[in-house]
């Protein structure tokens, strides 16, 4: 079996001036091409875990391998670069910069990551074509044609643009942090369907984080924060 995307062992984290541990993970592994559902209520350490994986927080102890790389050994700026090279993010709400167009929002990671820019296309034109392909696959053809400003998009449409941005340039991992909690249930399912099919197409691993356990049925693999984070036990 190929190398795991995420391989966390005995990872502990607490804020510098606090003695209270926020996270104590004996083990958490996500294999390549998996679609993983991580369920947990707020305050269960989800955001901390994502911060650690994204290289914004640094673990106190334990090993934290992302694509086989120990995040801790990287410098601050190397961590920022590593994040954009290999991970795409989708947040709960307001993912987009209101002053950029739909396409420019999607292309943002390309200006920070050489690797993803090359994967998206050799020339600027190829890259724009790739952006359009993704947006059309995510059913936003009409909005590109109309050149709709980002702020005029519905929440569901905004989340799909965010998904396109997370997927552009085929990062190995897409982390979706409560991306559907602002959507109603019909939209939720259609959004997930689109996300799944795009991830499958590009072979991207998906880590889907939500407090809403009703979605877990759509995933083959599921973790619960309460089980993996032994701090709460």
């Amino acid at each position: 079996m190929a190398e795991a995307i995420l391989d966390l062992k005995n990872v502990c984290f607490s804020w510098k001036n606090s003695s209270r541990k926020l996270l104590n993970l004996p083990e958490f592994i996500v294999e390549q091409h998996e679609h993983v559902f991580l369920q947990g209520p707020s305050g269960s350490g989800k955001s901390t875990l994502l911060g650690l994986v994204g290289g914004i927080l640094v673990a106190e102890s334990g090993t934290l391998l992302v694509l086989g790389k120990e995040i801790k050994t990287l410098s601050n700026s190397a961590r920022d670069a590593f994040r954009v090279d290999h991970i795409g993010f989708i947040f709960q709400l307001f993912n987009l910069l209101p002053f950029l167009s739909i396409e420019e929002n999607v292309m943002l990671p390309l200006s920070f990551s050489q690797i993803r820019a090359e994967r998206a296309g050799k020339t600027k034109l190829d890259q724009v074509n790739e952006v359009h392909r993704l947006l059309i696959a995510l059913e936003l053809e009409e909005q590109i044609a109309n050149k709709s400003p980002v702020i005029e998009l519905s929440v569901g449409q905004q989340q799909r643009v965010a998904a396109a941005r997370a997927l552009i340039g085929n990062p190995e991992l897409v982390i979706a942090d409560e991306p559907t909690s602002a959507l109603d249930s019909d939209l939720r399912h259609s959004f997930l369907d689109l996300l799944f099919s795009e991830c499958k197409k590009s072979g991207t691993t998906l880590l889907f984080v939500s407090h809403d356990s009703s979605l877990s049925g759509l995933f083959k693999k599921e973790f619960s924060m309460n089980e993996i984070n032994i701090i709460n036990n």
Binding site: G51, G54, D80, V84, F91, Q92, L93, L96, L108
Partner: protein, 418 residues
């Protein structure tokens, strides 16, 4: 990246424009005050160009400069015609201009002199006086008026004017029995010449004939104009005189000689030195003015920092998004510092534009109404230093929000808190 910055700024354009505007107002004020200061100094110096020494009765040097050139204040005493003649024929002297003051016309000073005034007097960059209409005085009761006097009272050639005794605006003692005739109008000079009426020394003497007691003669006792014309009008005293030297080397020795003149207590000054004295007095006011403008600038920059800081909270989301797509905290700080620099630079450019527009519009007005000529020239080296200090301060002001954004984006990470 720059594109990102510009677009982000465009999104907040109303605040950005206000910030730029407040900085540019400060820049305009700061450089404008500097320009006016130079203009004032320039117009003072331009009123005495070419004159090497000014001589008057013993008194303060600044006082002598002010009354003989700028028609401000009065002479403590007169000096005798004999003394004047002593120096008139000195080998080192190239020319002299006698000046006799003490009378006025509707608030404007009357200056008694001779033809040498029109021949030798220089102003600005060594320019000669020129006539707009008519010519110099030739008869006792002829007068040549400055441009401002002509414009203000709409005087034309051959108009008769009455000169008042003393220098008050409302004088009750008038030489109304001996009117003068306008024979010449001078072109504008931007110096006190514009505000003067020039008559011959004989005219001054003629006005005062039989005013022995300093009061007008009793009715019926005064001589008629016709009688006066037949008299031999000798000048006995003048107020001061200007000296032009053949060589400036002699300025100090001649000045010393005049100051220690045995026959009569005299004062000799070099206009440049006396002007320096004037600047020393005015410096406090200048400094006060400059401090105020620096504060205005400081307020403008503070406003920029305030708008950057308050914008920071709204922009937290923007920062988090940028972090999620790979921007480090350093990049985000850079964006903020760059923004501050850009805003101050734009403020400066707009301020310069505003300054030059104001200067071009106000230059003719200031010259016409106040006789103040403000030269327009590109920013001096000193101005450029001031401007770079502003940009530097702007950058530093951007550093504070940048540091905060740095810390904030470290703490916020990629989770967007609402």
């Amino acid at each position: 990246m720059i594109n990102l910055l510009v677009r982000s700024l465009w999104n907040r354009r109303s605040t950005a424009v206000l910030t730029i505007f407040s900085i540019s107002i400060s820049v305009t004020l700061l450089l404008g005050v500097e320009n006016i200061r130079q203009g004032v100094r320039g117009s003072f110096s331009s009123a005495v160009s070419g004159t090497d020494i000014i001589v008057g009765a013993r008194g303060g040097s600044l006082q002598l400069l002010l009354y003989s050139i700028f028609r401000i204040g009065n002479a403590p005493n007169n000096l005798s015609w004999e003394s004047y003649n002593d120096f008139l024929n000195d080998k080192r002297v190239k020319w002299t201009i006698p000046i006799s003051l003490g009378d006025s016309h509707r608030g404007y000073r009357v200056l008694g002199t001779n033809q040498d005034y029109f021949k030798y007097f220089r102003y600005g960059s060594k320019k000669k006086l020129e006539f707009y209409e008519g010519g110099s005085f030739s008869k006792t009761f002829d007068a040549v008026i400055g441009s401002e006097v002509a414009i203000k009272f709409k005087y034309k050639l051959n108009e008769e004017i009455i000169i008042s005794h003393g220098t008050g605006k409302k004088s009750f003692l008038k030489h109304d029995d001996r009117p003068f005739k306008v024979v010449g109008i001078l072109k504008p000079t931007g110096t006190p010449v514009d505000q003067s009426l020039h008559v011959s020394l004989e005219g001054i003497t003629a006005m005062h004939i039989d005013w022995e007691s300093g009061a007008p003669p009793m009715e019926g006792e005064s001589l008629s104009t016709e009688d006066i014309k037949r008299l031999d009008l000798k000048t006995e005293a003048i107020t001061s005189f200007l000296i032009g030297l053949k060589s400036k080397i002699h300025a100090f020795s001649l000045q010393r000689e005049i100051n220690s003149f045995k026959e009569e207590p005299l004062s000799a000054i070099m206009p440049g030195v006396a002007l320096q004295e004037l600047w020393t007095i005015l410096r406090t006011a200048e400094i006060g003015l400059r401090v105020v403008t620096w504060f205005v600038l400081f307020a403008g920059l503070l406003g920029m920092m305030t708008s950057l800081l308050s914008g920071l909270n709204e922009r937290r989301r923007e920062m988090a998004i940028l972090r999620s797509v790979g921007a480090g905290p350093g990049t985000i700080s850079f964006l903020l510092i760059f923004e501050a620099t850009f805003l101050s630079l734009a403020g400066i450019l707009f301020g310069l534009l505003l300054l030059y527009i104001t200067l071009f519009v106000s230059q003719p007005l200031l010259e016409a109404y106040f006789g103040l000529f403000i030269p327009i020239h590109p920013p001096s080296f000193k101005d450029l230093i001031i401007l770079s200090i502003i940009i530097l301060t702007g950058m530093l002001m951007g550093l504070i929000p940048a540091l905060r954004a740095y810390r904030q984006s470290l703490a916020d990470g990629m989770t967007i808190r609402l």
